[in-house]
């Protein structure tokens, strides 16, 4: 039968894809170290969670006592579904070497294979902690059948969520394929949504801790009663068992029946996506074409490094995914930023200027500067053999970042006047911000070239190279710290004038010297890296 054959092929594809990703994880020592650290971190977390689960298992008397149990039964399948949709966008929307696979097996086998591989990856990452958690809870409860019944309940749920999530994700990708306009918009809206989501999660976290909003009442509205009944089946044969109802059985049947239907839908969607190239993905942008040649606008066109910077900016706008790493900052702004705004109403102007300058220095370096060699690796054989000096190349990159950061600093500083900053102070902040952006870009290219990342990661359906997280964090800490000092220094200078006293004068001078020295040294280092670059 064809289904048996497709499942057989699917399992083989799944195994091969899984092995490939494992080899990908362990390709470099750097990644292995990263993995060891996360394993340690998660291991410790798991220990804590498991001991908590053990205690909970001992003390809990009925399922109703488990906090948020009812809403969780509804949120869980929804979250699984969303997770699969996102992974479909990100990674499993198509298969590598598709020309080989798709001329060899049926698309249904490919769908099964991709889903098997993805599920295996998730189990690899989260399986052990979840197993430890369940085991601890079980032994606390003293009901050894719980893992079995829990698995039996979970399996149909996971099956349902995987196939339907995939069908949904591929459906989205198809819409994007047909509507390049929407695709572009969604890239931007999607990026903004991620921002809002991440920022929102920070706020919610704070709200839960501090404000004690009654989340319970909020969540109880989203509870879907039949699902509660169904998930409660996991407790059959334990002290927590609820009287089972017929709705639970209906839910189980529906889930089981919908899974093959979902697989069929997913296969149809995937077939349609993989075999119709309406001008393939990369071709969508390319078919838009560019009428004029390459010409930079006025101020940038004057110098060669300016024209190089313009090239970076143009390519950045056409391929915004390369900026995905910038989102990281939210995790820092979130907690710090929101508390900073509290009780500072009187100084709103200063806060606006400060936040703007902080953002500006961040963007100035992090947008283009943190992985110059990695970004340009495919073009380096050409670039390094042109008559253009490494100095100009580095300057071009720094200038591109500066062109993003400096306007932000100026607009925020001058804009803060509307929020109560004195006009003169606003102008002072603008000047200081621009200088700091300059220092930030010069510093960025240095640490960026020190530790280049070459391999691409899949993000929103396209491959892109992003800087090392380590470099990014280092940049955030150093430039964030430097900008904070610089901001207060500027504030001091604009309100007090040039210091006449010895101590502030020395401190400010020292700060200026260190900043200038580090930045300039970093810039020189980047040039040297370009000059002595070898491919190996």
């Amino acid at each position: 039968m064809t289904l048996r054959r497709d499942v057989r092929h699917g399992l083989r594809i799944g195994r091969a894809e899984f092995v490939r990703s494992i080899r990908g994880y362990t390709k470099e020592t750097r990644r292995v170290i990263g993995i060891i650290f996360s394993v340690l971190f998660f291991g410790v977390m798991t220990l804590f969670l498991a001991s908590g689960a053990y205690v909970a298992g001992r003390s809990v008397q009925s399922a109703a006592e488990i906090p948020f149990f009812d809403p969780a039964t509804t949120v869980l399948p929804a979250a699984l579904l969303v997770l699969v949709v996102l992974r479909t966008f990100e990674r499993i929307g198509d298969i590598e070497a598709s020309e080989f696979v798709l001329t060899t097996v049926h698309p249904r086998a490919v769908v099964i294979g991709l889903l098997v591989a993805e599920t295996s990856r998730l189990v690899l990452w989260f399986g052990l902690p979840i197993a430890a958690f369940v085991a601890a809870f079980t032994s606390g409860l003293g009901a050894p059948t719980l893992p079995l019944s829990a698995a039996a309940v979970l399996l149909p749920l996971v099956g349902w969520a995987t196939v339907w999530g995939y069908a949904l994700g591929i459906g989205f990708l198809r819409v994007l394929q047909y509507l390049p306009g929407i695709r572009r918009m969604l890239k931007i809206v999607g990026g903004a949504l991620v921002l809002v989501f991440v920022a929102g999660s920070q706020f919610v976290g704070q709200a839960i801790v501090s404000e004690d909003i009654s989340i319970g009442s909020l969540l109880s509205r989203v509870t879907f009663a039949p699902l509660v009944d169904y998930v409660s089946l996991a407790f059959v044969g334990t002290p927590l068992a609820r009287p089972s109802s017929w709705t639970a059985a209906v839910v189980a049947l529906v889930l089981l029946a919908l899974t093959p239907v979902g697989l069929a839908v997913a296969t149809r969607q995937a077939t349609a996506l993989w075999f119709t190239d309406v001008g393939s993905r990369s071709a969508t942008a390319q078919s838009k074409g560019s009428e004029s040649g390459f010409s930079a606008p006025k101020p940038l066109a004057l110098a060669q490094s300016g024209r190089i910077a313009w090239g970076h900016l143009v390519r950045g706008v056409r391929h915004p995914q390369q900026f995905s790493h910038l989102i990281t900052i939210i995790f820092f702004i979130g907690p710090v930023g929101t508390s900073a705004f509290q009780g500072l109403d009187d100084y709103l102007g200063l806060v606006v200027a400060g936040t703007g300058i902080g953002l500006a220095t961040y963007l100035a370096g992090a947008t283009f500067g943190l992985n110059p060699l990695g970004d340009e690796r495919p073009q380096l054989p050409f670039l390094l053999l042109t008559a253009t000096t490494p100095r100009t190349l580095v300057r071009g990159r720094a200038l591109a970042g500066f062109a993003i950061g400096a306007p932000v600093a100026v607009v925020a500083s001058l804009g803060s006047i509307a929020f109560g900053t004195k006009p003169l102070h606003g102008v002072g902040f603008a000047l200081g911000g621009v200088v700091m952006c300059l220092a930030a870009t010069a510093f960025a290219v240095g640490i960026g070239t020190a530790y280049p990342i070459y391999e691409e990661r899949e993000f929103w359906g396209t491959e892109t190279v992003v800087p090392s997280t380590l470099v990014l964090l280092l940049y955030i800490f150093i430039v964030g710290g430097g900008t904070t000092i610089g901001y207060f220094t500027t504030l001091y200078l604009v309100s007090e004038g040039i210091p006449t006293a010895v101590l502030p004068g020395v401190l400010i001078g020292l700060y200026g010297l260190v900043t200038a020295g580090v930045s300039y040294g970093s810039y020189r280092y980047a040039i040297r890296r370009y000059r002595t670059y070898t491919f190996d």
């Binding site: 490939r20 080899r23 990908g24 590598e96 001329t103 075999f275 119709t276 309406v278 078919s287």
Partner: protein
């Protein structure tokens, strides 16, 4: 000259057209290629050769028209897959595998029994001089080594029709000759080979029939000698002369297109 317009038809295309938004990549292509033919598919860059292959292997859907491979409709993937082998422009391989693993995986997905697969893989690896490197990861292969591995992958299941998109690109003379040799061997065993290449001497050496594509249209077709005789320069004309003549912008297309003898 083996099998010319005789016996069963291996590749049959009727009025295939493919447009990408506003670009017409393929414009009403009709083909009829007999079993066991080596068909040299020529055309300048961007003529639509790769597009044709993607259509005929079912990887992409025609905007209009239809085609059959060995009597199987190209939209029926389940039937099509065992009959065709395809070597695309870029070798479809996995960096994380070694050549041996890659080929075993391919054999596995083709449901080739493992003893048979082992034997064939070893033979082919040996034949193409990859035996010493078979356990190296493909990420560490040179361009030619990848190309050879992908070629083996496309012939592993003894397809009835073999599509080769510039198979000798990046290969050293020995490997290129090896591929030419396998092409003729396959044809002798009854396999149909649909070969796109820019290296005209290869075509002259192996092809029974030649088709020249220009701007998505077939502008000349016939045996290499027939195509050559189409340009009358007085003296000896080569396939290169013929190619240049029928694919220049001011070529009398209507004249030569009539050559599609039915």
């Amino acid at each position: 000259m083996p099998s010319k317009r005789s016996g069963p038809i291996a590749i049959e295309a009727i009025d295939l057209t493919k447009t990408y938004r506003s670009t017409v990549a393929l414009d009403g292509l009709s083909l009829s290629i007999a079993d066991g033919t080596v068909y040299g598919f020529l055309g300048p860059n961007g003529a639509g050769k790769t597009t044709t292959m993607r259509l005929l292997t079912g990887l992409s859907q025609p905007t209009s028209g239809r085609a059959r491979i060995c009597g199987r409709d190209i939209t029926n993937r389940r039937e099509l897959a065992p009959a065709v082998g395809y070597l695309p422009e870029t070798p479809p391989l996995y960096d994380e595998f070694s050549a041996r693993e890659q080929l075993e995986y391919a054999a596995d997905l083709r449901d080739i029994p493992s003893e048979t697969a082992d034997k064939r893989i070893s033979e082919y690896l040996d034949q193409f001089g990859l035996a010493g490197d078979e356990h190296k990861r493909i990420s560490a292969y040179s361009k030619g080594m990848k190309q050879k591995t992908a070629f083996i992958q496309s012939i592993l299941h003894d397809p009835q029709v073999l599509f080769l998109d510039e198979p000798t690109s990046g290969l050293d003379p020995r490997a290129a000759r090896q591929i030419r040799q396998s092409i003729t061997d396959f044809a002798d065993d009854g396999t149909t080979v649909f070969l796109s290449t820019h290296i005209l001497p290869v075509v002259e050496a192996v092809a029974d029939e030649v088709g020249v594509l220009f701007d998505g249209k077939l502008v000349a077709e016939g045996s290499p000698d027939e195509v050559k005789s189409r340009v009358e320069t007085g003296g000896e004309s080569t396939l290169e002369d013929a190619f240049l003549a029928v694919t220049s912008a001011d070529a009398p297309i209507s004249n030569t297109a009539g050559a599609t003898d039915e």
